[in-house]
Symmetry: C2
């Protein structure tokens, strides 16, 4: 019987062009050995594979598209090649696959079929923001997006802040990039003066900005960072 292939989970850059700064050499070796990739966006994937030094003709690789337009029934065929011994790469558009990123559905199918899944190392704004925040890394929660509607969002911020104090748990969340400044203002308006907010922005880029201050100190700052359209992770802790 032919040995089954594996599913490799392949991180991408967070926007930086210098892949050697953020991805291990071992990833490039694995990438070059693969012929089939599950990707979110074809153009982004091709650009990444070319920068990663894929030696084959990129036009002859097999690409399977996985994004919000993909039919759930289709997905279940994506891993069929693995039974014939083919390795497949699940490639993220930015950061690591499956964490604040699509891909978990594919991995669930792979787990159900007993396929070996190999996660590769790469940049994660959640992990790197947490490391650099100075906040509790023994107990933390990433909760994704908060509600858009202002009252609901304010209520959610208070809930998360209360979990910081009750459970000693760092709370991490994100916002659509063009609404980052409003989110920051909501945090300053809703949280306790002593509560600390870390703003972790453009992680791994030259413009990287990761600063922790108490709400009281953030309010005193004359020039606040402009977060508009910059990828930003918000963290709160005590």
């Amino acid at each position: 019987m032919k040995q089954k292939g594996k599913l490799y989970l392949i991180p991408n850059s967070l926007g930086s062009d210098d892949l050697n700064a953020i991805l291990p050499q071992g990833n490039f070796n694995i990438i070059k050995s693969l012929q089939t990739f599950i990707v979110e966006d074809l153009r982004t994937a091709r650009r990444f594979l070319s920068k990663a030094g894929h030696s084959g003709n990129i036009d002859h690789l097999d690409f399977l598209i996985l994004n919000e337009h993909t039919n759930t029934n289709e997905i279940s065929n994506y891993l069929d090649g693995i039974n014939q011994g083919k390795d497949i790469g699940l490639l993220s558009d930015a950061g690591v696959p499956c964490v604040a990123d699509p891909g978990a559905d594919i991995v669930t199918i792979a787990q159900n079929r007993g396929i070996q899944i190999v996660p590769l190392v790469g940049p994660s704004s959640i992990l790197m923001g947490l490391m650099a925040s100075g906040f509790n890394g023994q107990n933390f929660a990433f909760v994704g997006y908060l509600p858009k509607e202002q009252n609901l969002r304010n209520k959610r911020i208070k809930e998360l802040e209360s979990r910081v104090y009750k459970e000693d748990q760092t709370q991490l969340f994100i916002e659509t990039p063009y609404r980052n400044n409003q989110m920051f203002e909501s945090l300053l308006g809703q949280c306790n003066p002593d509560t600390k907010v870390c703003v972790a922005c453009d992680i791994s880029l030259d413009s990287e900005y990761i600063v922790t201050q108490s709400i009281a100190n953030w309010k005193k700052l004359k020039t606040k960072p402009d977060l508009k359209k910059r990828n930003t992770l918000f963290l709160i802790y005590k």
Copy 2:
């Protein structure tokens, strides 16, 4: 005025000797440029720096020890060199600094002093286990260790399981390696048959094992994985 130095957060291997498989080339370049390292264990640090190709004489580097025996007052001097323009590396013993790992106290001091903190990319069992589990990566919590005492632990498992269903939040936790098998048995005993458990063990090693099954299916398995003394992350989700 001399420019201030930076604090680099430097991940280590999770046990694998092949550093090129799990750390970017950029990390090695930064490591080689540093003369001062804050480390948990001197021997582990020296071994890592030598493998990472630190070209200087490792005996002439400055090492500052940060572990459970370190006096809190001492720590506050560790970053003084940064005012003189020196860059300092905070090096983990295993995985990334500050996440389920000491170091956050140093980073908090650095944040309070307005020091630039640069997190580097490296292997994290939490992140890689979550990626490969197939579980919800848009909403997840890592809660560290559960209580040792059996009744308290069982109660905590039920609490975490209830958060899975109520908040759609993946729950991640760890156990002291020699008690991993007991933890696994407690999960099988406490959780709903439909609840899924992912066991993520020896991540990034040749013996890597990351398998997700429902409680009902885990119970049916004749040979369960032996987790004793192997670094293991447990994840539960629905």
